[in-house]
Amino acid sequence: MLQKIYDWVDERLDITPLWRDVADHEVPEHVNPAHHFSAFVYCFGGLTFFITVIQILSGMFLTMYYVPDIVNAWESVYYLQNEVAFGVIVRGMHHWGASLVIVMMFLHTLRVFFQGAYKKPRELNWVVGVLIFFVMLGLGFTGYLLPWDMKALFATKVGIEIAMTIPVVGPIAKTFLAGGEIIGAQTLTRFFAIHVFFLPAALLGLMGAHFLMIRKQGISGPL
């Protein structure tokens, strides 16, 4: 039955080449931990992607309860944490995933760096990777404010004060992030929008480019 549905769609749209293109590529021996255990260092990139997927999914569920305004934000997180079934697990996964993704990305960056895998012809992929790193840090910074508890507010205040010291760009960045003079209602809605729409959009675009390049060029050879 499923085969028939597939064939029906495939006859009209020729979808086989699309997924075979993703599926059909060789995994060289030197990156396969089944053959050389030390090849586990090649897992970090994949694990970063895995956690990113979990972050997107858990974040989607969090927004079902979270309310991005200063009156209700904290209350909604408190409710989510203490009343909603499995809310504590979903929020916990998003909270710890934010740290784990930084750890995995850091290890992945070090692996690529110390193996010199960023050298010609893979320069552009390295640059895109560093941009992904910055986007992730931005997601961490904006997400930290959203529960609207004490540490969130004061860490964001300090963060924006630090940004203010940068000449020219600083005040513009402050206006963009805070939405005004004080860290308040405007700031929270902006951080929410940046955390949920702007940065994830940038992240997905950059990750798409990252994966496209690695499929095009293949993984770097053994040292």
Binding site: G97, L110, M150
Partner: protein, 255 residues
């Protein structure tokens, strides 16, 4: 691939009518023990992912994600702390030559040089050699960066007042006078069985703190019950006591 003359299409579309055999490439021509990504290698990755997910979930269950009390901008004594992966940048600004008049060194010059160099690494380190030992400058600079980040994070952690941090943001449960006649009545009645000693609720009764109800409304609930959990006639005592109890509960506010 068949192109040009003689090609047949599905209807007037651009989809070729001729079916291509759906066979994966043979990887035997590649060197070493190369294998196909799909499905051989993906299955192994899947298993690594499953093991990782178990550890991840254990971490999530063992350490509940923290939530401090609601943001209060008037609390001037609060010592802020960013998330752990920003600590090294935060700590850097505590040194004399990266703060005050020299703050630009700490906020722009040092991080700018470090992250700029990281981003432009492929254009700075253009040699053909890939082994870390054969490119000592790149390796040395990265190690220096790693040591600096570790040291700064460490310094930030040991100088932070964790004792104070633990109490300063704690969610404070509502404080009430245990000698209030209302509370005395509350304890003697059956209320305490479901709503708990601290009135914060439990498995069979909701919290009574910050209900926003007027005393009259509370008196009504105590007498007539509230489906599904609260039975009618739960309160047994005089009207005077009921009034005191209702006023006591009505005054409880969430912090």
């Amino acid at each position: 691939m068949h192109r040009g003359k003689g090609m047949k299409f599905v209807g007037d579309s651009r989809v070729p009518a001729e079916r291509k055999p759906n066979i994966p490439k043979d990887y035997s021509e590649f060197p070493g023990k190369t294998e196909a990504f799909w499905p051989n290698f993906l299955l192994k990755e899947w298993m690594v992912g499953a093991v990782f997910l178990i550890g991840y979930l254990i971490l999530t269950i063992v350490h509940e994600s923290p939530l401090e009390k609601k943001a209060d901008p008037t609390d001037a004594g609060y010592i802020p702390l960013p998330d752990w992966y920003f600590l090294f940048l935060y700590q850097l600004l505590k040194y004399k030559y990266a703060a005050g008049d020299y703050v630009l060194i700490g906020t722009v010059i040092i991080p700018g040089l470090a992250f700029g160099a990281l981003m432009l690494a492929p254009f700075l380190d253009t040699g053909l050699e890939r082994r870390p030992s054969k490119r000592p400058v790149a390796t040395g600079l990265m190690l220096l960066g790693l040591i600096s980040i570790t040291y700064l994070t460490w310094e930030s952690v040991v100088t932070h007042d964790w004792e104070k941090a633990k109490t300063q943001g704690k969610i404070v449960d509502v404080s009430f006078d245990e000698n209030d006649p209302g509370y005395q009545i509350y304890q003697k009645q059956s209320c305490v069985g479901c709503h708990g000693n601290t009135l914060s609720g439990g498995a069979s009764g909701p919290s009574l703190i910050g209900t926003g109800l007027k005393p009259e409304e509370i008196m009504k609930i105590a007498k007539e019950g509230k489906p599904p959990g609260m039975p009618p006639n739960a309160f047994k005592g005089s009207d005077e006591e009921l009034k005191q109890l209702a006023e006591f509960i009505s005054k409880l506010e969430k912090k």
